[in-house]
């Protein structure tokens, strides 16, 4: 039984906390430091928030179910503008050619980090025990918590 608390401590603290006022990770720090990790990617609540925003901000309008459509698929291994958290962050904030609008100022930084975390979870790049499970809709794809981690291939825009 002594092991149990230890085991849980390791797994729980980051994953479970629900800080509704999370100050966002520092962007400049994220872009300069190569070994930067987005803390929200280990937090189940942030990932679920990212998932909620992904549909509520109608991201799935172009990236349907993460499966693509007008915009590229976000579930496969191809990353046009980079797979690192801060790169995804930049893509959302800056916008990209061929239709990806910029959401600077209109989506608060914390939410962008949450979205970035969720987008990376679509191809299995976040801890399984924190990733979102299935939602209460039609099943277009297996839930993020059961998605195999995809290799990362950086490709150029089509």
């Amino acid at each position: 039984m002594a092991l149990l608390p230890v085991a849980l401590t390791v797994t729980s603290c980051k994953r479970e906390e629900r800080n509704f006022n999370t100050p966002p990770p520092n962007v400049s720090e994220a872009q300069t430091n190569p070994s930067f990790k987005n803390p929200l990617e280990e937090n189940a609540y942030s990932l679920s928030e990212g998932k909620r925003l992904f549909s509520q901000y109608n991201c799935n309008g172009c990236h349907a179910q993460g499966g693509g459509g007008m915009g590229p698929a976000l579930m496969d291994e191809k990353w046009i503008y980079g797979a690192r958290p801060e790169q995804v962050f930049a893509t959302i904030v800056e916008g990209r050619p061929n239709g990806m609008p910029s959401f600077r100022d209109r989506v608060p930084e914390t939410q962008v980090w949450q979205l970035s975390a969720y987008v990376r979870s679509l191809s299995g790049h976040v801890p399984k025990d924190a990733a979102s499970s299935r939602d209460d809709h039609m099943q277009g794809k297996p839930p993020e918590s059961r998605t195999k981690e995809q290799p990362i291939k950086n490709t150029s825009p089509p």
Binding site: F20, P108, Q111
Partner: protein, 345 residues
């Protein structure tokens, strides 16, 4: 009117346990509509009847326990009373009688609740003049007044205006988890269960503002998921409805238009709709007539400039966990936005 005077009885009962006098804007025993009326009558019947039963049983028990006993109760060597069969059979008869009486009372109560049940659910005779769609969200209420003509549909939030004395049909849906629609002064609860569209009808006998609240635990801010039902005269209602149909004012003061610009360039626009502007978000409440509402944040705050700014700058201090992020605005920008929002009459 019976219900009123009974309500005085209730208030005295409250006073008995020396407490604050019951507020009646959210009370199931201060009925303002037929259903609540019938239910509260049932309540008073039960209260008086069962209080009687309670007193009776308790006095039986206390007499049984504390009555003076004859010293000459014969006992065996182990100091145990020898029961004599004659007395036991007598007691058995009494107990039997008690059971019979209980059964009779229960049957009476059963019948009365059947009757009340039928009345509050009997299909309304009069035709439905007004149908309102209510959608429960974590943690606010979306309100839409149905109409065949799209331009005649009114959309608002957390505040339901209805004409007095008219019967209104409510269509209830949930956008996420289970909520429960409850206006104590008008009627009991109806759950909003995903995948199970529900209906209920309300009718108010007297004008006034009645508070409702979500009655099914629905997450972090279940405590702050209230709404108000404003019951007004037919004319007032029509006037209100007309005003709600209008889209947001076109000509604005400079500060108001600065406010609108900010609204459209800041996170606000992602979630909120303002008719007549580019703001068309469907995530949060429709703000087209925000200034006309009594409260903000689903009844959490009175609608005034101070509370509005508090809410915009950091809603998470007011309703931790709600889905509105803190909006980064400096005090100047904030004032513009407030000026604009307050113009949305």
């Amino acid at each position: 009117m019976r219900a009123r005077q009974i309500n005085w009885g209730f208030l005295t009962w409250v006073a008995l346990v020396n407490t604050t006098v019951a507020a009646t804007t959210q009370s199931s025993v201060d009925p303002a509509g037929p259903q609540a009326q019938h239910i509260s009558q049932l309540w008073w019947v039960m209260l008086y009847l069962l209080t009687g039963v309670f007193i009776l049983v308790m006095s039986l028990l206390s007499i049984g326990a504390f009555r003076r006993r004859s010293k000459a109760a014969e006992t065996s060597g182990r100091n145990v009373i020898q029961t004599d069969s004659l007395r036991e059979t007598k007691m058995a008869r009494v107990v039997m009688g008690g059971v019979v009486v209980t059964t009779v009372i229960l049957f009476a109560l059963l019948v009365s609740s059947f009757i009340v049940g039928r009345t509050i659910y009997s299909i309304p005779k009069e035709p439905t003049v007004l149908t309102i769609d209510i959608t429960g969200h974590q943690w606010w209420w979306d309100v839409r007044y149905e109409n065949q003509v799209a331009s005649q549909i009114v959309t608002t939030a957390n505040e339901i205006h209805i004409p007095v004395g008219r019967q209104i049909l409510f269509k209830l849906n949930s956008a996420d988890v289970i909520h429960s629609f409850w206006v104590p002064n008008l009627h009991g609860k109806t759950d909003l269960i995903p995948g199970h569209p529900a209906e209920t009808w309300l009718k108010a006998d007297r004008t006034g503002v009645y508070r409702g609240q979500c009655a099914e635990f629905c997450g972090h801010q279940h405590a702050h998921m209230a709404f108000e039902v404003v019951v007004e005269s037919e004319e007032q209602f029509q006037a209100w409805y007309e005003s709600q149909l209008k889209s947001a004012p076109a000509q604005l003061t400079s500060s108001q238009s600065r406010g609108l610009q900010l609204f459209l360039s800041k996170p606000c626009v992602m979630c909120h709709t303002i008719q007549g502007t580019d703001a068309g978000g469907k995530v949060g409440p429709d703000l087209t007539h925000l200034a006309s509402r009594q409260t903000i944040a689903a009844g959490a705050l009175q609608n005034n400039r101070t509370n509005l700014s508090r809410w915009i700058l950091n809603s998470q201090d007011v309703k931790p966990g709600n889905h509105m992020p803190p909006i980064p605005l400096n005090s100047e920008e904030l004032n513009f936005v407030l000026d604009y929002l307050e113009s949305l009459k």
